[in-house]
Symmetry: C2
Amino acid sequence: MAELRKDPLTYRWVIVSTERTKSPAEFISSSCSSEAESGKNDPLAEGNEKMTPPEIYALRPKAGLANTGGWKVRVIPNTYPVLRIEGQNRAEGVGIYDMMDAVGAHEIIVETPLTGHPLETLAVEEIAEVFKTYKLRMIDLEKDLRFRYLLVFKNVGRMAGASLSHAHSQLIATPVVPSIVQNKLDHARSYYTEKERSIFEDILQQELRDNQRVVYQNSGFIAFCPYASRFPFEVSIFPRRQMSDFYSAEKNEFIQIADCYKVVVQKLNKALNHPHYNCLLYTAPTRSSTTTARLDGLERYFRWHVEIIPRVTMITGFEVGSGFYINPVPPEAAAQFMQDVQV
Amino acid sequence: MAELRKDPLTYRWVIVSTERTKSPAEFISSSCSSEAESGKNDPLAEGNEKMTPPEIYALRPKAGLANTGGWKVRVIPNTYPVLRIEGQNRAEGVGIYDMMDAVGAHEIIVETPLTGHPLETLAVEEIAEVFKTYKLRMIDLEKDLRFRYLLVFKNVGRMAGASLSHAHSQLIATPVVPSIVQNKLDHARSYYTEKERSIFEDILQQELRDNQRVVYQNSGFIAFCPYASRFPFEVSIFPRRQMSDFYSAEKNEFIQIADCYKVVVQKLNKALNHPHYNCLLYTAPTRSSTTTARLDGLERYFRWHVEIIPRVTMITGFEVGSGFYINPVPPEAAAQFMQDVQV
């Protein structure tokens, strides 16, 4: 089992395992397993459905039985969840410290039945089905009033924290709003309060006007290297339309975000020779945790967005200790290079 | 050259290089150079003083000429500084964005003249001289009114961001207080305002009382795995005596912190087979940036401290995207294991 613990100096919540095993080696091995499986030993491949926990959802165009083949996208609980679905949000003081039960959900979205096919190599319509699956899972999990936030993310490659190479993303439902999300919400709200404008719209207009950091755009989305990029070749994708919740996206928008994702990752692959990367989908916190904020204008001041972060530099002591990032690549140069790369 | 840029959504400052070179490969290579030099090609070794920029300071027990051998500890400017000493703190708006000139200092503290001798393998008295050197450099840099914070840190091993294996630490002087430090200051101040007690003293007393997470102690310092450790086997070292500024430490305290550092790192080396790690020295911001805070009690509510962070797990998309950390090792188990390891 695990606990959420709050650091009294930084107010940072940490998910701490409380299972005691025998040696440090045992602790570490579970989180550093190797990647690169193929065919028979790929637990996420079609035909190996029995190697995973029973599915939560699967897209089966021709129907068919659960936990058998014939699916396009499949959602399963993580075999080693960092948060568990059982229990209440029990919170208590431990001496001067604060803890909370680590209640949540941890799901794996298997993006394709095929081994060795990264998401960006699929057809745009297939990628769109993966984004639609996020929407379905979010709508379902949002009903659980214990959950405050639903974070969808992808780890691609060992340097980005992946332990399996089969194309997949993860969804973690947390009982508190993560600090980075809360930061974005707070600053977007104060900007809106002061200017009666959305900071997301202002950033988007600034990027279109400057036209120095835009990487790609289509009728629904703009992909750009943020002005204060933390990492070389970091890309943000904003929808042109104001939507605070990812699940408000509509049919053609799934095709457009899929197209945008595919082009950006293909450009990164060419520019940086298939970098390991993380992808993050930021949406508004669940309705149960934002009842007041929604009355205050959250649906006008916050906009869902995607971040793609290549992991080509190490996170050093300076970054870990200060929260400052050092980016050796100007985002203007990264964007120019990615614009020039043909995919 | 570089700029400080502020992200409008997270208010995070980023140090962004603005030098344009030709290809992405060029950008990346500078930050990912390999480690493991030995003898002749070790720019930080005694006898190779000409391979580095001229020294800022050196401890020479028998005097001798600058930039020659005969030193025990040597301080040089970083050949590739992330912040530069020249210029004013010019700040300006760039469209809707904020930027500041990347003025600062970036120094390398070479901890020993010998190649292949990590800091923890030196005698306690030698390690104490390294800590005393931090003090001297801080007192000198604090005079520069453009600097708000002085962060001393160590990257040991490639996974921790080291590009050279010769024992060294770094000091970066920044023109803004880093967000993690500001967080600690804010929370320590509000705790003090509410309770008229130091949160550092309360944490220290709680750890001594619980006696579940203490790793090592001597008459000056307590080393413990923090209650909400982000990383497996993370260790914090607090002085027993209230001091907000590291440079207030006195003679015997340098010996005691050196002893504590040596024991903790030797225990980590045994427990985790010489893990790569970061070490951070948190002191109060410079006097020029805390004139009011010092009147408000900073010298009673903030205490300098050290963090040692083994880098044995990957930082995944979840951590990068949420600010939440997942720690697979309970700090109680890590502390127990380190207590049991004999060094």
